[in-house]
């Protein structure tokens, strides 16, 4: 054969040729010093390029690599779960509100602009929605001041809890205010349950639970790397999850079933119906408008 082109030599070096073509080029290179030299130069150039391009990677933000969620890499991390104390419990006889905040996940990313903040409202358990109305209103009325565990700019909770929970069961995205609110209505048949919040970035994630007051119904919080769990007792609890604006990926599950996932600017309610939670009015996930 005649001298192969540079492109053909490259394809040969990249093992992209079919068997017959490869044999031809190989045979030629064996006997042609010029092409053998060209092939060696090409391979060295490609190796050099890899090194030179790697230089660019040294200019990457340090957080990029650590943003990977090592879910599969750490299957046994549940063993390191630690129990958190309920942070503030209102005296018996009133609606109680307990909360916990946990660092979850990876180092902070300082270069990401504040894009949105989300407040998710998850009403778990309880009887029919109509019966739950007074309870929610009562609970909202008696809410104590939230703990200042999350910077105000990140945990946006400007809408009254009871109003949001009762006004609509649909997903509403409020891009103008930089907030996103998801309200989930309860269904009959719920009982004890576990709500789990998993996040990708190291952030303060605040989970607040409002229940009718009784010792028996005091929720328990657990925290592990990237996770914050709430073990609910009884029914009729309102679980509020405040997520920081910089969060890139999150999932909220109830008794193992995913009910909401979050990615970047999008909040995606999942269609799955669980034993104690139903998400109504679901549609396509809605991306938030950039600010």
């Amino acid at each position: 054969m005649s001298h192969p082109s540079e492109a053909l030599l490259l394809a040969f070096a990249d093992d992209e040729l079919d068997a017959e073509r490869r044999r031809e080029v190989d045979a030629h290179v064996q006997v042609c010093g010029l092409c053998r030299h060209a092939l060696r130069d090409l391979e060295q150039a490609m190796s050099g390029l890899t090194v030179e391009l790697a230089l660019l990677d040294t200019a990457e933000p340090a957080g990029w690599q650590s943003l990977i969620i090592p879910r599969k890499a750490r299957p046994g991390r549940s063993a390191s779960v630690e129990e958190l104390p309920a942070a503030d419990v209102v005296p018996r006889g009133r609606a109680s509100r307990t909360s916990a905040t946990a660092h979850a996940g990876r180092p902070p990313r300082t270069f990401v602009p504040l894009r949105w903040a989300a407040v998710l409202l998850v009403v778990v358990g309880g009887g029919a929605a109509a019966m739950a109305v007074p309870r929610w209103r009562d609970a909202a009325t008696h809410l104590v001041a939230p703990k200042a565990t999350v910077p105000a700019a990140r945990a946006v909770a400007t809408t009254p809890v009871a109003d949001v929970a009762m006004s609509s069961a649909a997903v509403s995205i409020l891009p103008s205010g930089g907030e996103a609110t998801v309200a989930l209505t309860s269904t009959a048949g719920g009982g004890d349950g576990r709500v789990l919040v998993e996040v990708s970035d190291r952030s303060d994630v605040q989970v607040t639970v409002t229940t009718a007051t009784s010792e028996r119904m005091t929720p328990r919080f657990t925290s592990a790397d990237g996770r914050l769990g709430v073990q609910l007792a009884g029914h009729g609890s309102l679980v509020r999850v405040a997520l920081p604006a910089t969060l890139r990926l999150a999932r909220i599950t109830h008794d193992g079933a995913t009910i909401v996932t979050i990615s970047g600017d999008a909040i995606n309610p999942t269609a799955a119906r669980t034993s104690g939670v139903i998400l109504a009015g679901m549609g396509q996930p809605q991306a938030k408008e950039r600010r």
């Binding site: 082109s5 540079e6 492109a7 053909l8 030599l9 490259l10 394809a11 990249d14 992209e16 090409l42 150039a45 490609m46 050099g48 390029l49 890899t50 030179e52 391009l53 230089l55 660019l56 990677d57 040294t58 200019a59 990457e60 933000p61 990029w64 690599q65 943003l67 990977i68 969620i69 090592p70 879910r71 599969k72 270069f111 990401v112 890139r248 990926l249 999932r251 995913t258 996932t261 990615s263 970047g264 600017d265 999008a266 995606n268 999942t270 396509q284 996930p285 991306a287």
Partner: protein, 165 residues
């Protein structure tokens, strides 16, 4: 999306490499963040029809970078783009920062489509996949890469010579 966990796996496996690819194409950290995030958002909505998410994501990112380049072409003709992320304050970083700058300048001398092919090969794609991502015939992919490689090293050598004392 039916299976959020699988989406998360895709996200975890490909996010950083996509960021790196777009960053190499654009030398803009923030643009890379935005492009990759948008690509994942699109995947989120379209995953049921996506057979090869990795190629799909690369294609979406490539197209978004092209769109962005078209939109900003006029402005950039008059406004030099500042290098991002390189702040060689420690003395030992000066040399590395200069090398990064030279690599970037050399990459800019490559035609956009050739540069995409070159960087996709560096990302481990086979020629057929590269052809699919940048929408060219598979037969011309090695030609694009070989041409890109030649231009890159010529430009890199030239830049290195220009800055040599």
């Amino acid at each position: 999306m039916d299976d959020p966990r699988s989406w998360e796996t895709i996200y975890a496996e490909h996010r950083v490499e996509l960021l790196r690819y777009v960053h190499r194409l654009t030398r803009d950290v923030h643009l890379a963040e935005d492009v990759v995030q948008d690509a994942f958002l699109r995947l989120w909505r379209e995953t049921r029809t996506v057979e090869n998410p990795r190629s799909w994501l690369y294609r979406v990112c490539t197209n978004m970078v092209r769109d962005h380049a078209r939109r900003t072409a006029t402005r950039e003709r008059h406004t030099p783009v500042a290098d991002d992320a390189v702040s060689p304050s420690p003395e030992e970083d000066v040399e590395r920062a200069e090398s990064v700058r030279l690599v970037r300048l050399a990459l800019e001398r490559i035609l956009p489509r050739d540069r995409e092919a070159l960087l996709l090969r560096e990302s481990g794609f086979r020629y057929a996949e590269i052809a699919d991502v940048i929408d060219v015939r598979c037969e011309i992919v090695p030609t694009l890469i070989a041409r890109a490689l030649k231009r890159f090293h010529k430009a890199y050598l030239q830049e290195t010579t220009d800055v040599a004392p």
